[in-house]
Amino acid sequence: MNAALFATNLKTNMKNFFSYGIGSVLYLAMIIWIFPSVSNTDMEKLIRQMPKNLIEAFNFTSGISSADHFVANEFYGLLYLLIMAIFAITTAVKLIAHHVDRGSMAFILAAPQSRVKVALTQAATLVFGLLLIAAIMTVGGWLVALAILGGDGIPFAPFFRLNAIGFLLFYAIAGYAFFFSCLFNDEKRALSAASLLTLVFYVLDLVGRLSDRLDWCRHLSVFAAYRPQDLLDGTAHVAVTAIGLFAAGTALYLIGIALFSKRDLPL
């Protein structure tokens, strides 16, 4: 870690971190706000009539009777994944591959800091951003629910659990994005490799949910570790999942850093 580099990274990225964090909370607010208008209505009956596979694929298994489940399905099941995947991938690529592709890495590496230290600082910036966004969403989301729904809003502990595993999921996704960022000289190539892999994971998860015969597909995807509804209900293996995601992510960062420190750079 290098303090001066980290400080500069924060300065140039802070606005981005906050826009994603606050933007997500606003989306969440919108979802919570429309909840009363869809709960206990014909909408629910309509959904019940859908084929079982479709219900599973679109996260409607537990219906839309309670606000926290509605939030888990409609926001954490789709929009959140999209927003965070874009953030994790673009930020990871920006922190290494972008500097290498543009050539600005030449200045950074001309300082008497090892490549390992430089890459570690960049990885730390990425993880810090993910943590900050998770914190904003946990606190902001809970407060927004409280304000809109009144009463107890949504229970804090399960909501925290959901966000914590969400953070670890993107810790791992940002991990392979960072790995690609360290691997490729070309920024676009790093971006497409990370996006493609994420898309493949998502499709595997979706296909697995659609068909019982293809259920095994889900286990090939990183999204298998992330079931918003089970996390809220407390039926997921939270500890195992958390340790698994953290270990996989950490390994990816370390491999990326090692690779970056050993390879030729076109600077």
Binding site: G103, P112, L265
Partner: protein
Amino acid sequence: MIELNGLTKTFANGRGIFDLSFRIPEGEVFGYLGPNGAGKSTTIRHLMGFLKPEKGSAAVCGHDCWRQAPLVHQRVGYLPGELAFPEGITGRAFLRLMAGMRGTRDEKRRDALLERFQLNPDIPIRKMSKGTKQKLAMVAAFMHDPAVYILDEPTSGLDPVMQKVFVDLILEEKNRGKTVLMSSHSFREIEKTCDRIAIIKQGRLIAIEDIHTLQRKQRKIFEVTFGDEEAAKRAAANESFDPTRRGRTVDFVVQGDYNAFLDAIRRESVVNVSVHEQDLEDIFMDYYAGEGDGR
């Protein structure tokens, strides 16, 4: 201070650098000359530890440039050939970043350099002109008072006034015992400062010469306009400088022999003299011709 030992790197397209060896002693200003794509930047990237040698090695201050890059960087001020700065920050923030990463506390030298280059660092880098960016990179390379300077095409993008400021700065650093390696594709840009010059072509070193030897080898065309045609004819009668006459004007080709040349034209009335220098390619040709086999 700088040492290359059989440094070799072949790229996928077959180009690269091949078996480069030279030593630059402490206190020398060394010019690294070659046409674009000859391998100058590739050599410098090895010195900075960005590329791993395929064969051979590069060392600065006794430290291996690949394995001990941070130790090398501690002693080196580096100016990249292509300037790309981190985005979204001002010049001052950039200099603060570089000083922070180096652990440099002293800001006096930085401020003196800013003054000298008349550079206002408090504007966003993306709003700076090419010349201003060049100055900013120069300040970043010089501000920590390193023992060795590695400068990739330092004078490109500088206006004539700033080129002079740069030349003075290099000569000053040389007097303080600093070692400099600078690359260029133009002999003129570095002949004022360099002690020795290496010429590289297609990845191979074809000559390392003392600057004065090279200057003697370099041919210059003196275009002399005489007072009248008769004077021009008389001057052109002397065949030793390969004269070509067009009316009152005569082109002489001079190689090192300046006194003899001046003697030859002194007796006539001269109205105007202009000098054309050979370009790099011609110096190469001369080098081959002069040495028989340059390799």
